[in-house]
Symmetry: C2
Subunit: 514 residues, 2 copies
Amino acid sequence: MTFPALTDLPEWKRFVLVAQACAPREDGLDLIEAPGLTLDSSGQRHSAELLAAGEALLAARQFSTQRARLFAGEPVNTTEHRAAWHTALRALRSPEGVLSERERMDAFVRKADAERRWRHIVHIGIGGSDWGVRLAVSAFGYAGTWREVRSVANIDGHAIEGGLAGLDPRHTLVVLVSKSFTTAETLQNGARAREWLQAAGLDPAAHMVAVTAKPERARAWGIPDEQIFHLWDWVGGRFSVWSAVSLTTALSVGADVLAGLRMGAAAMDEHFLHAPLSVNAPVRMALAGVVNRSILGHGSLNIAPYDSRLANLVPYVQQLDMESLGKSVDLAGRPVGVPTGPAVWGMPGTDAQHTFFQWMHQGSDGAPVDFIVCRQADHHWPTHHRQLLANCLAQREALMRGKTLDQARAECLAEGLDAAQADALAPHRVHPGGRANHLVVLPRLSPYSLGALLALYEHRVFTQGLIWGIDPFDQWGVEYGKVLARDIVGELQGDTAQPVHDVSTRHWITELKR
Amino acid sequence: MTFPALTDLPEWKRFVLVAQACAPREDGLDLIEAPGLTLDSSGQRHSAELLAAGEALLAARQFSTQRARLFAGEPVNTTEHRAAWHTALRALRSPEGVLSERERMDAFVRKADAERRWRHIVHIGIGGSDWGVRLAVSAFGYAGTWREVRSVANIDGHAIEGGLAGLDPRHTLVVLVSKSFTTAETLQNGARAREWLQAAGLDPAAHMVAVTAKPERARAWGIPDEQIFHLWDWVGGRFSVWSAVSLTTALSVGADVLAGLRMGAAAMDEHFLHAPLSVNAPVRMALAGVVNRSILGHGSLNIAPYDSRLANLVPYVQQLDMESLGKSVDLAGRPVGVPTGPAVWGMPGTDAQHTFFQWMHQGSDGAPVDFIVCRQADHHWPTHHRQLLANCLAQREALMRGKTLDQARAECLAEGLDAAQADALAPHRVHPGGRANHLVVLPRLSPYSLGALLALYEHRVFTQGLIWGIDPFDQWGVEYGKVLARDIVGELQGDTAQPVHDVSTRHWITELKR
């Protein structure tokens, strides 16, 4: 089979033409009621013709077949000949072993709760073994939890030093998470935690658990079998939040939070599988994402959760999106020919308004924004929540509507400036407007809604990868640096520096060796 | 005086031509020893001719004169007719009032320390009244501090709820920071904190201090005069870390940290003022920034501190850079004509390696990176630090050097793939290379070095603003959303929705009002 190049597809050429001809924004309401959330796409380019062209493009990419293969656990990770079957972890009918492993984890949590054990959890993992836990713990434990969680990811020794500082080792459980159980950061930090337990006269084996797809390695490292929870080869790191990787979440905010997350994600899976494409939330977001990136040329995507509990949604989506779509070669090994995944970044609004929204409004090009907000708060101060909602709507409106030179000049005059002053200042108060955005409204920040939101992003990313014709499930680009780092570690310890390094790298190896 | 448009300047045209002709990278070593840090620009386009063209461009923008005006406290904030005299806050000879106000703050801290008062500090401020404190406290208090600091910025009520949760009001000091003392977030959160103190039977006036340029407003709000610390009109929010805004930092990690930060920044000021342009670190970074953004078209800049203590450097620089340079109109009110400030984003390496470095290596366009690393760690695990340094150098080298198709194919064969398999996989393992970067090496993370680093970024931003011909000290783009938000707050409370809103905004106002 020859995989067709995107830019050769007549359906792509038509999609580009229609998108370019589509007005920046029509004053219409474009809502999708999906499980756990409402998606408002009114702030994106849209027309019946563009949607039809998008559907034709998806058909050319065999969307229905590929989506079915994803859910059937077929090897959709083409370059690695593997499944990416994270949906199985939250499905009503999970494959052999998933339910029993979940039950093992739940039993561990029930026992710990019954014994009121583990006042402190040190969660050691990085990337996909880290962000999901940070996200759920800050979302549902934002006002503190009985068990204090410290997340340690970085190889920088200050991270593990700060992670352990002040904790009572007798009451500390260390959770080591590494799919391969070879992750340098995690094993190094785990070794440091083990020393810390030993220095307190404790048996590390009694205070450590592991989550991994390589139980034999965890066993060799010293973790007893009954404290090793299993992953499967077909769960990618950035899709592993649905697995025992979230043990720390269960210990901190409750196993029912995990159950809720899974239910919300499973409901979004059903929506993605069965909703017509015109009202299929992940599909519509993906089409908008391709238009914004590959046709309109926006290099980045801003995530703006108007909820301070969702600060960690930003790095979570950043990893999901950028590790999946940060590739420029298609399945046949050719350059894709158009720009693929954008830089994903962001910060909770209203913090973002005081940090970089100046740039969003008046910078050279701004960025498309995903606004995310909860209709109902979980606190008791309606004034706060009203201001939060108003700020979210107002920033979005300002980005869409803009402000003309005439309006800016009239404002200046109304503030008492004379004509010459108004003429001078008005250009600085113009907003071009027409900035693209999505608005995602959750009824409230329940585990169900958050689970649905995460699955929405997963399937949006899958669909964009399919259109671009890339493998969203591999990550070949992260291997090269690891190999080089191993060499340089040796050279910093005294090995002869390899002549292959550039002058600057050689200089710093010599300097830092001292 | 008519302010010349950038694209009309012959010096600009020449700079563009020379930069375009400059090879991506020569294998040379390009180091600047600046106060508190070493800047390695080997990873940027560079030639003697490009530097000369850059110097000519700066001369055309009257760089020496404008730099002198900045340091003399002249109204360099053109659109607001104000000085931006933050350098005065750290100068050996500070203007009237600065030293006495600093002494007031120091006396407050000394007294609190002597009395062992205030176990908890709730710091309430947003944007420039927030990030500097978060940065310094996490940089120097990463392993915990005697006084626990909670930072509350967002208007989301969960932020203040989480900020106050579990604290003992009797031992809590609330620090309210707002230059104007009208910031909605800060006053609303301050009011909530005041209620919380009152509910505990305490006198809020005894537990709250304010930092503001409008002491009369703080007084009217209920803060006693002796607990109000002053800012000046000529200190912009994003440059206010050098003022009493950092009171919380002094209470948490010590007033000597602030003194060190100021000394480092002052030393960088001297460097910026007096070093020849060819070895002037902020100037060289600025020229590279303009090449990357306006000539090579990179839409974003990644900040990668290889130090987990510097996680908050990312939002700090993000605000400094994007609020300053997120403008597209020059001082004469004309479009600048080239892309200005990039999106600034990032994360500490090695977290970033496991989150989005895939995209940096193999995405469509990647982004220039500022790597920042400390030669010496403040912990006792050399293996950790060696791995950290090695990862920093390795990622940088991989981004610069890249990997060819032939190399990738040879690797695949060496791993045992057959020729057909190697041909299929090799394209997925190619790294284009040639990615631009700076490497900034601090001897260690001292207050002096961090202060120098912050001033380096300040002056880099100033210089880029000067070249582009924009006002880096205003922020007109943040006003519009505030006005709209005030209207929408009223409408959510029952006012008639203004017909000016788009259909979607009207829909959500109606929906969320319920």
